[in-house]
C-alpha cells in the first residue's frame, strides 16, 4: 500500500515536472523571478545605473510583466544580451522573454522559432556622423567606414542600401553598442549606423552631443518588440497583453496617478475590463484579474514610460512620431479588451 502510494506520487510528480517544464508561466512563478533579456547597455532603453538598478523603456516592459505575473515589478533578473547572444539565450531558456530593441522580421518569427508578441517601438535605421565632416545625406557616404553591430538586421539593411545606391563602404564590425560608441568616438568609423532611436540614445550619452548629427535618411522599417519562445502560447499571450494593456491604458487615460481611483469601477466598460472590475480577462491568461492594474502601476502607461525614459524631456529627446496613439495620428493601436 505504502509502496504504491509512493510510486503513484512519483508518477504524478514526474508528470507535473514534465508539464512544468513546458510552461514558462509556471517556471517563472516557481522561480519567483522573471528572467528578462535586455540590451547590455543602451541609455534610455536598458541600462544599469551606478547601483546596478536597471531602467529604461525596454526595462519598463520587463517590470510590467513581472508585476502582472509575480505581483512585484522588482522581481526581475536582467540578463544583458548582445546582438549575437540574444536569440540563443531565449531559445535555450536562459531568459523567459526578450525586451531588447529587436526587430520583428519574417525569418526570426518563423525560422528562428521566436514569437514577436507586438511592437513597443516603431523604428527605422539611420546614420550618425560628425558635424564637422560636413555630410548632410547618407548618399554622400561613398567610401566611408561604417561601424555596424554584427548579427543585426541593420547589418543586412546597410549592405542592401549601399548596393541600391551604388556606393561602397567599409564595414567595421563591432559586438555591442558600447564598443560601437567607443570606435565611433575614436574615429575608427566615419558613420555609425543602427536604429534611429538607438542613435539618439547613444548620442545623448556623448559628452558633446551637439557635435554629432543624425542623417535624415531612414533606410528601413525596424519594428522593435518583445519576443518569447515559439510554442508556449499562454506565455506569449501574457507578454502580448501586458504590452497591450500599457498601450490601451494610455488610450483610455489610465495613468499611475488615477489607476487606484479607476480600479474601483468606472462608466467605461472597456476600462473596467482592463482593470479587472468587469469580466474575467485575467483568468483567461492564467493570471488573476488585477494583473493589468499591477502592470500599469509598475511604471505607468505607455505614454508615461515613453516620457520618462526616451521622450522629449529626457536627454534622448525622441518625439512620439510613429509611436503616438492611433487617435493622435500614430501607429499604436491595440485590439479590444473583451
Amino acid at each position: 500500500m505504502k509502496k504504491s502510494v509512493f510510486l503513484g506520487t512519483l508518477a504524478v510528480a514526474a508528470l507535473a515536472g514534465g508539464i512544468a517544464g513546458a510552461s514558462t508561466l509556471d517556471d517563472v512563478k516557481a522561480r519567483g523571478e522573471l528572467n528578462c533579456g535586455v540590451n547590455t547597455g543602451l541609455v534610455g532603453f536598458a541600462a544599469p545605473d551606478a547601483n546596478g538598478n536597471w531602467s529604461g523603456f525596454d526595462v519598463a516592459l520587463c517590470k510590467a510583466v513581472a508585476a502582472a505575473v509575480l505581483g512585484d515589478p522588482a522581481k526581475v533578473k536582467y540578463v544583458p544580451t548582445t546582438g549575437q547572444t540574444r536569440f540563443t539565450a531565449l531559445a535555450s531558456g536562459e531568459i523567459d522573454m526578450l525586451a531588447r530593441n529587436s526587430t520583428w522580421t519574417f525569418s526570426r518569427d518563423t525560422d528562428l522559432k521566436l514569437d514577436f508578441v507586438g511592437v513597443n517601438y516603431y523604428d527605422g535605421q539611420g546614420f550618425m556622423v560628425r558635424k564637422e565632416s560636413g555630410i548632410t545625406s547618407a548618399k554622400e557616404l561613398d567610401g566611408a567606414s561604417v561601424c555596424i553591430q554584427t548579427g543585426t538586421t541593420t547589418e543586412l539593411n546597410l549592405a542592401d542600401y549601399f548596393k541600391a545606391n551604388n556606393i561602397t563602404y567599409q564595414p567595421i564590425t563591432i559586438d555591442s553598442n558600447a564598443e560601437g560608441e567607443q570606435q565611433y568616438l575614436a574615429g575608427a568609423c566615419d558613420a555609425y549606423t543602427t536604429d534611429a532611436s538607438g542613435l539618439a540614445a547613444t548620442r545623448a550619452a556623448f559628452a558633446d552631443p551637439e557635435n554629432h548629427i543624425i542623417l535624415p535618411e531612414i533606410i528601413s522599417k525596424e519594428p522593435l518588440g518583445p519576443a518569447v519562445r515559439h510554442g508556449d502560447n499562454q506565455w506569449g499571450d501574457i507578454v502580448r497583453w501586458t504590452l497591450n494593456a500599457l498601450i490601451a491604458a494610455e488610450e483610455y487615460g489610465i495613468t499611475s496617478a488615477n489607476i487606484d481611483e479607476l480600479a474601483k469601477g468606472t462608466e467605461n466598460p472597456e476600462i473596467n475590463r482592463i482593470l479587472g472590475v468587469e469580466g474575467e480577462l485575467g483568468k483567461m491568461t492564467g493570471l488573476d484579474n488585477d494583473w493589468a492594474v499591477r502592470a500599469i502601476k509598475a511604471g505607468g502607461n505607455y505614454g508615461e514610460i515613453f516620457a520618462a525614459t526616451i521622450g522629449e524631456s529626457t536627454p534622448i529627446g525622441l518625439a512620439r512620431g510613429l509611436n503616438a496613439q492611433w487617435t493622435q495620428g500614430g501607429l499604436l493601436y491595440t485590439p479590444p479588451f473583451r
Binding site: S107, G143, A144, L156, T173, H230
Partner: protein
C-alpha cells in the same frame, strides 16, 4: 594410485571476467566502450529531442542561401550577394592567413629570443627573460586588445591627413616619401600594379593572376639555380679545399631575373592617396589584422623561445666545445651544430604552439577581424539561427585544420629527427 580428479576442469565461468587477469582487461574495455557509446547516444538523442521540441530541424542548406552581409577583410572576391558558404570560406582563409603569418613571425622571434636568453651578456639575457615572463603570463586576449588600443588611440584618423584650407598643412603627415600612412583604422601601404598584365585565370575560388604566377616561377627557378651553385661550390671545396666566393653570384641569381620580369611586366608601386573618407590606390592593412597578428605572434613567441631554450640546453656542452675546438665561430656553432640537433627536441612541442596559435586566432572577434569565428560562427550563425549546425561545422573545420598542421609538422619532424642507423 591415479586419481581422475587431477585434471582441472577448463570450463569458463562468468566470474573469470572479473577475477581472472587474462580476461579482466577485456571486460573493462568492453564495459567502458559500452558506457561511452551509451553516453554519446544519450547526448545525440537528447539533442534530437530538444531540437524537435523547439520545432527546429538539422540541415546545412542555409549555407547555400544569400549571405546579405559585407565583410571588411577578404582574400578572395566576395560581395553580399554570395552565399553563406562563401562567407565561411572568406572567414576560413582569413583565419589561415593570420595563422600562417603568425606562426612564421612567432617562430622567427621565438628562435631569436630563445637563443638570446642564453646569451652570456647579462643585460641581453635578462631582457629576454623579462620578455618571456611578461608575455607568457598574461592572457593572449589582453595582448590583442592592448595592440588594437595602441593602434587606434595613438594613430591619427584618415581625415587628419587632409590638407586644411586655412593653414595649408595637414595635421598628420605620411612617412617614407609619402608612401605609408598610419591611421586609426588601417595602415595604407603602396600596392603593386602591372602595366602589361598577362591577365588572370578565372577559377571559382578567386582569379589567379598570371603576373604573380610568372614571378613565382622565376623565383623558384632562381632558388633552384642558387642551390645548384652552392652544390657546385661544395664540390669544388671537396676536391681543391678552397671554397669559391659565391655570395655575389647568389645575390645576382636571386634578384636579377626577378627584377627583370618585374620591369618587363611594367610593375610599379602605386602609393595610397586620401580620396574622400579613406585612402585609396594602395593597400589598406586593417588594424584589426595587425593587432591580432602582433598579439598572437608576440605571445606565442614567448612560448617558442622557452622551447628553443630547452632544446639548446638539451644538447650537451661537449658539442659546443668540440665545435669551438675546430675553430668554428659561435654563430656558426649555433646554426651548424647546436640548432640542427636541438630541432628534434624543439619540433614536437612546437607543433602544439602552432596549433594553439591557430586556435587562438578565433579571438579575432574581439578586434572585429572577420575570421571563421566571425563569419560562420558570428554573423551567419546569428542571421540564420542555425547554432548547432554552424558550431558543428566550425568545430569540424578547426579540427581538420589542426590535424593538417599536426600532420605536416610530423612529416617535418620525421625529416629532422635523429637518424638511427
Amino acid at each position: 594410485m591415479t586419481s581422475a580428479s587431477d585434471v582441472p576442469e577448463h570450463r569458463f565461468r562468468l566470474s573469470q571476467l572479473i577475477y581472472d587477469t587474462r580476461y579482466r582487461s577485456l571486460t573493462i574495455q568492453v564495459v567502458t566502450l559500452m558506457l561511452v557509446m551509451a553516453g554519446a547516444g544519450w547526448l545525440i538523442d537528447n539533442t534530437i529531442q530538444n531540437l524537435h521540441q523547439l520545432g527546429k530541424d538539422f540541415n546545412f542548406s542555409f549555407l547555400g542561401n544569400r549571405a546579405g552581409y559585407d565583410i571588411g577583410q577578404q582574400l578572395i572576391p566576395y560581395t553580399n550577394d554570395n552565399t553563406h558558404a562563401r562567407a565561411m570560406l572568406v572567414g576560413l582563409l582569413n583565419t589561415l592567413w593570420v595563422s600562417v603569418l603568425g606562426c612564421a613571425t612567432a617562430t622567427v622571434l621565438g628562435v631569436i629570443i630563445g637563443v638570446l636568453r642564453l646569451s652570456n651578456n647579462w643585460l641581453v639575457g635578462r631582457l629576454m627573460t623579462v620578455y618571456v615572463e611578461t608575455f607568457r603570463n598574461i592572457p593572449v586576449l589582453l595582448w590583442i586588445l592592448v595592440s588594437i588600443a595602441l593602434l587606434t588611440e595613438v594613430t591619427p584618423s584618415p581625415r587628419d591627413y587632409k590638407i586644411d584650407a586655412a593653414t595649408g598643412a595637414a595635421k598628420a603627415e605620411m612617412i617614407l616619401f609619402d608612401s605609408i600612412a598610419f591611421t586609426n583604422r588601417y595602415t595604407a601601404i603602396p600596392a603593386v600594379r602591372f602595366e602589361n598584365s598577362l591577365g588572370a585565370i578565372p577559377t571559382p575560388l578567386a582569379p589567379i593572376s598570371l603576373n604573380f604566377l610568372a614571378l613565382a616561377a622565376v623565383l623558384i627557378a632562381s632558388v633552384w639555380a642558387n642551390r645548384r651553385l652552392k652544390a657546385h661550390a661544395a664540390r669544388v671545396q671537396e676536391t681543391t679545399g678552397r671554397r669559391p666566393v659565391t655570395w655575389w653570384k647568389s645575390l645576382a641569381l636571386l634578384t636579377v631575373p626577378f627584377l627583370g620580369v618585374f620591369v618587363a611586366l611594367g610593375g610599379h608601386l602605386v602609393e595610397p592617396a586620401l580620396k574622400g573618407f579613406n585612402f585609396t590606390g594602395g593597400m589598406n592593412v586593417s588594424n584589426a589584422f595587425v593587432a591580432l597578428w602582433a598579439g598572437l605572434s608576440l605571445y606565442t613567441a614567448a612560448f617558442i623561445a622557452e622551447i628553443v631554450r630547452a632544446g639548446i640546453l638539451a644538447i650537451s656542452k661537449g658539442q659546443t666545445e668540440a665545435a669551438y675546438a675546430l675553430g668554428l665561430r659561435p654563430n656558426r656553432t649555433m646554426s651548424l651544430v647546436v640548432l640542427p640537433q636541438a630541432l628534434r627536441v624543439i619540433v614536437p612541442p612546437l607543433i602544439s604552439q602552432y596549433l594553439n596559435l591557430t586556435k587562438n586566432s578565433s579571438l579575432a572577434i574581439a578586434v572585429g577581424y572577420m575570421d571563421l569565428r566571425g563569419t560562420l560562427g558570428g554573423i551567419t550563425l546569428n542571421q540564420t539561427g542555425r547554432e548547432l549546425e554552424a558550431i558543428l561545422l566550425m568545430m569540424l573545420i578547426y579540427l581538420a585544420v589542426s590535424l593538417t598542421i599536426s600532420g605536416l609538422m610530423n612529416l617535418f619532424n620525421n625529416a629532422v629527427k635523429l637518424k638511427e642507423r
